[in-house]
């Protein structure tokens, strides 16, 4: 567990995290490995885990009915997947596929929610890290929606 704790705290997302809280988070962690093409999860599945990506690239996809999946984002080393772990009903809204070999730390979402509920200091520290991620992704999505490279005039 000590090794996992070190790995968790070394991830960009947990930079500067208190060691004591890091030990609590690491208690919900496990090492994961995905082969190229393997899906980390599919849309509508329960959010059982948050993924701290340590190596490789994960493609986020939405598959419109009858059409090929559309890749709308990629996440790589230092990124986190699973911002909806705190949002009921805790379901994925898209698919996530390993583009190449992916190594990640999986944080058990239920375990983490319970610890955050029991220790609001941990919960607040987690919120302080997740909210900027959510905000940044919202900004990026807005920019993506503008279709800035499109040739059509407004």
């Amino acid at each position: 567990m000590e090794t996992l704790e070190r790995i968790v705290l070394a991830h960009r997302f947990f930079a500067g995290f208190e060691a004591e809280l890091g030990a609590l988070v690491a208690g919900c962690a496990r090492n994961l490995r995905f082969t190229p093409g393997q899906y980390l999860f599919h849309a509508d599945e329960d959010v059982n885990q948050i993924y701290l990506i340590r190596h490789g690239v994960v493609a986020l996809e939405i598959a419109p009915p009858g059409r090929a999946p559309v890749m709308f984002a990629t996440e790589g080393e230092g990124d986190i997947l699973g911002t909806s772990w705190l949002v009921p009903p805790y379901r994925w809204r898209f698919d996530a596929r390993a583009v190449g070999l992916v190594r990640a730390i999986g944080l058990d979402a239920q375990c983490l929610r319970a610890k955050c509920e029991a220790d609001h200091h941990l919960g607040y520290e987690m919120m302080k890290r997740f909210l900027p991620e959510l905000s940044a992704r919202l900004d990026q999505t807005r920019l993506q929606m503008l279709d800035v490279y499109g040739t059509a005039k407004p």
């Binding site: 690239v57 559309v70 890749m71 583009v99 920019l143 490279y149």
Partner: protein, 275 residues
């Protein structure tokens, strides 16, 4: 200034290359005389006879003295006439005009080049100059964003540059299918991941204005000084001599104080809807 700066010189289209749907690169040679020297970032006024004149950035190698190279996207009547020119077509050329990318000021520094969509064309002369004098610069990073993998400009050249070990190239697209192995997402998102030595970094950015606005902010957030961030502005240019005022951008005429301008000069104006 030339004796007759409003009179276009006749040039012949020597070669064309269809880059993308509606995007063509033209190689132009003068009917007489030599090709004028230009600096990366400058533009020419290209005249499609009988249709009109448009400002088009020079996209060729500044070290190649025998022709002018321009990449044109079909947007309106003039650019469509230019992009649909064929070898042998005569066009009018006035220029070069405008300010240049600070390739000399960047010597000794890390350089981040950021292009969006067709914005790679005005940056290409700077990229070629930097690569030709590679030992003069520190880290060289190219970030390029496009709508989809099918809309990447100069794709073969990007692959060629990528094979060099002395330049970091990161390409990202807004959307892709499963066959794409690169990044998906907006260009500004790549900037915090670069691990820039901000005190020793100079940036050159060219693309849609909203993209440049967000890239300028992301570079500044990463610690790059505002006066070391350079953007290529675009407005409707007519005379290109600072006389007619069509390209006015606040207190500046883009044709004279641009197209390449420092971020500290334009950052506030980028947020104004009225200009």
């Amino acid at each position: 200034m030339k004796a007759a700066p409003l009179r276009p010189a006749p040039y012949r289209v020597r070669r064309i290359k269809r880059e993308l749907h509606g995007v063509t690169t033209l190689e132009l040679v003068p009917a007489q005389g030599a090709v004028p020297a230009f600096e990366p970032g400058q533009f020419n006024m290209l005249y499609a006879f009988g249709v009109g004149e448009a400002a088009i950035s020079i996209s060729g190698d500044p070290a190649q003295a025998d022709c002018l190279t321009h990449t044109v996207r079909e947007m309106g009547a003039i650019s469509t006439a230019l992009a649909q020119a064929h070898p042998g077509t005569m066009l009018g050329v006035r220029g070069p005009f405008g300010t240049a990318w600070p390739t000399r000021a960047a010597e000794g520094l890390d350089v981040v080049l950021i292009a969006g969509g067709l914005g790679l064309a005005p940056l290409r002369p700077a990229i070629l100059r930097l690569l030709a004098a590679r030992p003069l610069y520190g880290r060289l990073i190219l970030l390029y964003g496009a709508r989809s993998p099918n809309e990447l400009l100069y794709r073969h050249e990007l692959e060629h540059w990528r094979q060099r070990l002395d330049v970091d190239i990161h390409v990202t697209v807004d959307y892709a299918d499963a066959g794409w192995h690169g990044n998906v997402g907006v260009v500004p998102r790549l900037i915090p991941r670069l691990g820039l030595d901000a005190q020793n970094t100079l940036a050159m950015v060219c693309g849609p204005e909203v993209m440049m606005r967000f890239c300028g902010a992301a570079l500044h957030d990463a610690g790059v000084a505002m006066d070391r961030i350079h953007l290529s502005m675009e407005r409707n240019m007519k005379c290109a001599l600072g006389l007619c005022g069509h390209c006015q951008f606040g207190a500046d005429f883009i044709c004279k104080t641009g197209a390449v301008m420092r971020y500290d000069q334009v950052a506030q104006r980028l947020r104004l809807r009225e200009i």
